[in-house]
Symmetry: C2
């Protein structure tokens, strides 16, 4: 099979289907999502068998436990998938929203209309639940999707895709509204990201290396998430109780997530009061501490942090700690070493809170709250297609709105340019 | 001189300056713009002399008349530049706008804050007035800029840049807020578009070839304008007076602009009534007509249009005309052959107007108004850095808001994730 020709066929079909789903009404889209729900319930046994086959092949192929865990669909995960779909059905439809209409001096009435992006290509790891989640978010936002999951999940994805097609057929929508790339050939990705005539935006999900490579080679815009090197700064006027709650929660609530704190910054005047108790609490939870010299002088046997530590997203029970002289140093450190993802200050001081909010250049900036709140569900987006570390288009958690665009609408009565 | 090292020096200085200008108050930014205004008035003679030198070298180097015209700054153009700067000073400051604050069930209060993008690289042709326009829009929106104009305008740009620096110094802002690339070496562009650590977004202005090359090679997001193949569709229920006014204005008001109509689509039932008068009016204005067979049968000696004509942005007194059977065919034609820039329907029919607005996939969609309205001044943006034909981030005319981003703000009282 010629991979490029195959991908172009998918692309052309997606482009055509995107015109149909773009003008589908909210009721049509919700009915389609419900039909997909019903089809998946009907196909449950079949999908779980296909998934078991993937897991078995993965084990035989030597996949590590973490990857196998992400690959496996059990009854509970399947229920979770369905529950996610139910939530997408319940979300308000962003498409067609008209806003900001005003009359211009020429007499034209100018406003905006929210519209789908068109065709969205999603590239992700071997996580079958992402197949349904991404497909349903794209469909709800009026977009056609081409899904390219990890090759280890190919049978699971094919089975889920068959269910999705069944649902689309049941309501008379083109099957090409959601297409799964049915080949494990890696050349498919190279083609998918270089067809601007058929694909409007690429959303890669996965490891940093993969995402960097896709961004480098793509010929269409990429909504991407690189790393989450998040900070909490304990200001000299931090409430000690809030400081401890937030510093512990941001690090230890979950370790392998992008919104976990990786570096704790402590204002010098309160370092002596706050750090001993915090260090004890971290150690009790098995968190390894890597600290600057001033911190080590206070808390004892922490590992000496290197320059590299300030840049590192550990995604593990490891925390870097640094004492800074003041707010300026904290902001400068975050903007220099951070990844512009999520950063928080703990303080009761109004002016410093305001400066931190304005000057920290991150997609989410917080006062007296745990960095762990930075996600689509907590932000009320209902679900997220990812968290963007880009500044343009969508920044931070990306929900349905990030999969849309606004076009200008001009309503006239025959006006011409003078 | 090592061009890459030189560009990285500019980049690092811009990144640092961007932190300063990002937190400047509206008053500070307006004062800086006023100081730049005063410096340019003071340097007027010097700038005009430098420009005369560029024009002379351009003539000697064989630049064509159109390019020479764009390059030349006379007193009137200089006044126009200053007037544009006055308007930017008068625009509201988009930075710091806080919006959409709501409480989430967790108790956090979530909203958005509008912030600068950071460092913006502008690549443009030999048009010295763009230097000031781009610099002032970027400064007002809190961004640092690196400007790379055409080499034929180097002396003019250096003289204008000196005035801008004088203004920045006068108010104590870093000179690196606005930097002009002071080398004609083309390698500078290659480096400017591949420094994601220093440059957040590139705005290219110029020919399609240049913009396509920059988009292909850039390693940072590009806000770009490719072509403007705009359409007017005269529906069967078009008011004949509005139809003629708009069809004539959209084509003949100015020929070399991206929002001029390039193809006229006419609904079959009214073609016989509307086309003869229109053809006469176009011919009287010297517009060459290239038409489908059905049109030629009505208006006589038009050139036969080829498939290529439907794709073409003439930017000249040439118009393609096609009769379509109905609204569906008109929408399909526009979405297939158009450039998703600006398209208009003329009709008194409510339902077809609504369908046209929803289904035409262009950055500006109009009812009963001339496509010529699609620009930043007419839309009230005050000025525009360009017209985006992209779907993501900024679509259509891009003013100050397109040079900004929104970050999420979370205000808490010690909330942690459960």
């Amino acid at each position: 099979m010629d991979i490029n020709a195959y991908m172009q066929t998918l692309g052309a079909a997606a482009r055509q289907a995107s015109r149909v789903i773009a003008r589908a009404s909210t009721l049509e889209k919700n009915t389609a999502l419900q039909a997909i729900f019903d089809a998946l319930v009907e196909d449950r046994a079949h999908i779980l068998v296909a998934n078991a086959r993937d897991v078995e092949q993965g084990k035989a192929g030597g996949l590590d436990d973490a990857l196998l865990d992400r690959l496996a669909l059990n009854e509970a995960r399947f229920e979770g998938m369905l529950e996610g779909l139910r939530q997408v059905i319940a979300l308000p439809d962003p498409i067609g929203e008209m806003s900001d209409f005003t009359y211009r001096p020429s007499g034209i009435q100018l406003g905006k209309m929210r519209v789908p992006l068109g065709v969205i290509g999603i590239i992700y790891e071997s996580r079958p639940n992402v197949t349904l989640e991404a497909a349903s978010l794209c469909l709800k936002s009026g977009n056609a999707t081409i899904l390219r999951g990890g090759s280890e999940a190919l049978h699971s994805n094919q089975a889920i895709a068959a269910g999705i097609r069944k649902g689309l057929r049941a309501v008379g929508l083109p099957e090409a509204v959601v297409q799964v790339v049915e080949t494990a050939d890696r050349a498919a990705v190279g083609q998918l990201i270089t067809m601007p005539e058929f694909v409007d935006v690429i959303v890669p999900r996965g490891g940093k290396g993969l995402i960097e490579r896709i961004s480098r080679e793509a010929r269409v815009p990429v909504i991407k998430h690189l790393d989450g090197n998040c900070h909490v700064f304990l200001d000299r006027e931090a409430d000690p109780v809030k400081a401890e709650r937030i510093a512990i929660n941001a690090k230890t609530h979950r370790y392998g997530v992008c919104n976990a704190m990786e570096t704790l910054l402590v204002d010098a005047p309160v370092a002596g009061a706050l750090l001993p108790g915090l260090a004890e609490a971290y150690r009790a939870r098995g968190v390894e501490l890597r600290a600057c010299e001033r911190t080590r002088a206070i808390i004892g046997d922490a590992v000496a942090a290197t320059e590299e530590d300030w840049y590192t997203e550990y995604l593990a029970p490891v925390l870097a700690i640094k004492i800074v002289d003041n707010l300026d140093e904290a902001i400068a450190h975050i903007n220099q070493y951070g990844s512009h993802h999520t950063d928080a200050i703990v303080t009761e001081n109004y002016s410093r809170a305001r400066r931190f909010l304005a000057e920290v250049d991150s997609s989410s900036v917080m006062v007296n709250a745990s960095t762990r709140f930075a996600d689509g569900f907590e932000y009320g987006l209902g679900a997220e297609i990812g968290i963007s570390t880009d500044k343009i288009h969508a920044r931070g958690p990306v929900g349905l709105e990030g999969l849309t665009s606004q076009k200008w609408i001009v309503l006239g009565d025959g006006q011409i340019r003078q």
